[in-house]
């Protein structure tokens, strides 16, 4: 253990003097500043409707109908050109034109063109439903049931944090640890290390510890800055350690197949790219096929999400921590074997 400590102290000194440590810290500072000062706590979801109502009696009624539908607001215009001009100026607004055709009121939905078919249908049926509810004898028999009775939600700002944590904890580590190894190869010091009475795993574990410490310190500071002290920090740190070690070991394994950063870049980039597919399911919950759920990023992102929720699923987080520890051990055994064969070849 004394040799591991000696190697770790040396690596810590080199990291402290190297560019990657400051890159990581710099990125964290920028992320916190952007999140605190540029990203609102929650995004504005108010739907603005611009309306041209040629039947004066319906104006008040339409305002009420739209307001009843949720976070909506309505603004009236006097002419079709004015309506269209306003819509052109605000690309997120939707337009409604109510006019008479003979003796019957006709409702025309004026959209921007970028709305999806489902959004068009939703707006159309919302308005039709609202109109129908005004008919004599109408009774609303629709009930809404959700499988999750009290789905927990993160604020929009904190909702971005799991993605940042996975990028910073697992996948930046993958790149940086590879850079450290290739720097050693480039300077030739890896050869000097190889002819010293130390084990290859000393070399690997020392670098893994450096990466883990860097990830814990930087990530914890970011989470405290954005969330405060309301979450389970010991569990968060455990998760950061487990996921970071997995990323570092994966980075080392990829590194063992190449002799320079330039040659390894493609494989490293490809790995991160594929692994990040888990982020799609995070932002699009309806898109989570089995192959995405099998990628490491999926359980990592959702574990961080649970950790950030006030009533998060601790069992799910612990299960994933255990899974990644087991995976890391297996991967490390193979990586160590690979490095023994290829350290100086």
């Amino acid at each position: 253990m004394q040799k591991l400590w000696t190697t770790f102290v040396k690596d810590a000194r080199l990291s402290y003097q190297g560019i990657y440590f400051y890159m990581e810290v710099g990125m964290a500072i920028i992320f916190v500043l952007v999140m605190l000062f540029a990203v609102p706590e929650n995004f504005d979801r108010t739907q603005t409707f611009y309306a041209l109502v040629e039947i004066e009696a319906l104006k008040g009624e339409l305002s009420e109908l739209i307001a009843d539908g949720g976070d909506h607001q309505v603004k009236f215009f006097d002419s079709r050109p004015a309506l269209e001009q306003a819509l052109a100026a605000n690309r997120s607004a939707a337009g409604i034109h109510v006019h008479l055709q003979g003796q019957r009121p006709v409702l025309e939905l004026v959209l921007q063109g970028h709305e999806s078919e489902s959004m068009k249908a939703l707006l159309r049926s919302t308005l039709e439903g609202a109109m129908a509810s005004q008919l004599p004898g109408y009774v609303d028999r629709t009930t809404v049931v959700t499988l999750e009775t009290a789905p927990a939600r993160l604020s929009d700002r904190v909702n971005l944090l799991p993605i940042y944590l996975v990028i910073n904890v697992a996948f930046m580590g993958l790149f940086i640890i590879a850079a450290y190894v290739f720097l050693d190869k480039e300077e030739g010091v890896i050869k000097a290390f190889a002819v010293a009475p130390v084990q290859v795993w000393h070399y690997l574990v020392s670098k893994i510890i450096i990466m883990a410490l860097m990830a814990v310190v930087v990530s914890t500071i970011v989470v405290i800055s954005l969330v405060g002290f309301r979450i389970n920090y010991p569990l968060l740190i455990l998760a950061i350690l487990a996921f970071n070690v997995f990323g570092s070991v994966l980075g080392l394994l990829i590194t063992s197949f190449f002799d320079s950063m330039t040659k390894a870049m493609g494989a490293l980039f490809f790995s991160v790219f594929v692994l990040m597919f888990g982020g799609f399911s995070y932002f699009m919950p309806w898109f989570s096929p089995a192959w995405i759920r099998l990628l490491p990023s999926y359980p990592m992102i959702f574990s961080f999400r649970e950790l950030l929720l006030e009533q998060g699923d601790v069992a799910y987080v612990l299960q994933n921590i255990g899974l990644f520890i087991a995976l890391s051990i297996l991967l490390f055994i193979y990586t160590n074997y690979r490095f023994k064969k290829t350290l100086t070849v």
Binding site: Q2, T7, E187, V195, A196, P197, V198
Partner: protein, 284 residues
Amino acid sequence: MIKVQGLYHSYTHDHVYAVKNANFEIAPGEIFGFLGPSGAGKSTTQGVMTGLLPLQQGVVQVAGYDMRLRQRELFNKIGVSFEQSNVYSKLTALENLEFYGKLFDVPTLDPMQLLHLVGLDGVAKNKAGTFSKGMKHRLTFIRSMLNNPAIWFLDEPTTGLDPAISRKIIEIVKDKNAEGATVFLTTHNMQVADELCHRVAFIIDGEIKLIDSPRNLKLQFGEKIVVVDHRVDDTTKREQFSLVKPDDMARLQTLLQTGKIEMMHTKEATLEEIFIQVTGRGLL
């Protein structure tokens, strides 16, 4: 101390060998020179002997350790100085030595004394990244001495150094050898090999062409020559005479009896000339 038998090594894992059927043994306390031009297979052989390259075929034993097993304890007994300097540029010279010193399981030499030995004690606390090529080379050299190795592998130890420092390095190697260290010297510098080595091996295209002591090689291959400067019609003329060719010997005898000799000295063949004679190739 070192035994190499039927060593083959291929970087491409086929029949294109960088080293072909190398066989030699090195006795304790011997300085063994491995001489050849760049790409001859010197560093590959040393790489296998120091465990930097895997042993693919043959037998290699170093200090009683079978290199096929690659036991880490071996590295407490050997020291390796590399041709390309390889020190941590962000650490000071002293930190570099202190770090490596702590990796050994045997007592190590005082880093400051080692730095003093090669004139780097004044810059002990400067980062190695600020050093000149020669300074880095000296640091790499003394790092290989930290564990007072019983077997010392030196790859081009004087390359790129100025004459004074080269002389210092040669004297250090001689001193360590006098203390009992076995030295495996890889070089293409024949003067250094001639001065230091008890035996040399000539390697070219991965094959060892010959192994013998420099003295025996000179006796076997070198032609004794006498160089004479003498006056002819108010000018000085320089002539060479072989001491083995009868014609030359007769001409020299005549000159000694009748000529006006200004200067006369014997000249031995150099290792380099012998190398060229044996291998048909130069050293660069």
